[in-house]
């Protein structure tokens, strides 16, 4: 931080200079981001936010790694099967960027703890795998005026959106009359490239929200389907 205060970019962030600049880097280092889920989406989000230098990451996940996570979950290895995902992610962050503080929260987000866990941060990242918790996170972040960066994936498809306070929310994407907790990912699964692509887009959204640079995807859903070369930005109403 001392170097940045003098208008110089530390060597480790030099490749951030041309996009976020000194002012942006300072903002990233001072920012606090909660990532709900440290699996397919979350693992990649956490890795990239840590490398960028987002100063404080609150990692929320009550799950442990299983063998079937290895195809895509960046934080999973053959040596940490059975380890809590939030702890594993925090350990990884420790060895890639000592500037970043982590808070590993080894439990599932629910209606009882959501207010506490989603408060006191600048952005929340939705890296969940079920509809009802996503809707809960949407509701709480709206209530507390916290920007939310959403994504969801299935097979070769993914979708990403930033929901600022007052913006159109997930009720336009998920029919709530349906009892279904999961989407078509139950049929299609998720190959490695899909969460990586969606998570990378989420990271770019987080950077835009934290630094004020560019245009976040507000009231617009970026939808991709790499099987059919579809990349669309859809307008929600």
């Amino acid at each position: 931080m001392a170097l940045l205060a003098e208008g110089k970019m530390p060597e480790r962030y030099q490749r951030n200079l041309g996009t976020v600049g000194i002012a942006g880097q300072i903002r990233l280092l001072k920012s606090r981001v909660a990532i709900v889920g440290a699996g397919g989406l979350g693992g990649t989000v956490i890795e990239l936010l840590a490398r960028l230098g987002v100063g404080h990451l609150r990692i929320i996940d009550g799950d442990t790694f299983a063998v079937h996570n290895l195809n895509r979950q960046l934080m999973s290895t053959e040596h940490n099967i059975g380890v809590n995902k939030a702890y594993a992610a925090a350990s990884r962050v420790e060895i890639i960027n000592h500037d970043v503080q982590t808070e590993a929260v080894p439990c599932m987000l629910d209606a009882e703890n959501a207010e506490k866990l989603l408060n006191g941060v600048d952005v929340v990242v939705d890296a969940l795998d079920n509809v009802s918790t996503r809707l809960l996170v949407n509701k709480i972040t709206q209530q507390y005026g916290i920007p939310l960066v959403y994504a969801a994936i299935a097979g070769f498809t993914g979708q990403v959106m930033t929901i600022m306070p007052g913006d159109i929310g997930l009720e336009r994407i998920y029919k709530q009359t349906n009892a279904a907790e999961k989407g078509v990912e139950t049929m299609l699964g998720n190959p490695a490239g899909t969460p990586a692509l969606a998570a990378s887009l989420q990271v770019q959204e987080v950077v835009k929200v934290l630094t004020g640079i560019g245009e976040p995807l507000r009231n617009k859903l970026l939808y991709f389907d790499t099987e059919m070369n579809i990349f669309e930005i859809l307008t929600l109403t």
Partner: protein, 78 residues
Amino acid sequence: MVIEVRLYATLRRYRPSIPNGVFTADVPDGISIAELAHKLEIDPDEIHMIMVNGIGRETDGILADGDRVGLFPAVGGG
């Protein structure tokens, strides 16, 4: 009138002979999106998001000639 239908992700299996899920359909004037889904024999419970010309619409929305109707299932993985 003629509209273009785009079936996304798993909804493409309703037209297995059309791999990219994009086709034109001849439909009566004033047809609603719900009526279109019924005509195409797509289970309405599978349709979670509807886009007409890239803009979100409800299932009771009325279509116009030349509209591009996108039907999307629920995507919830992470």
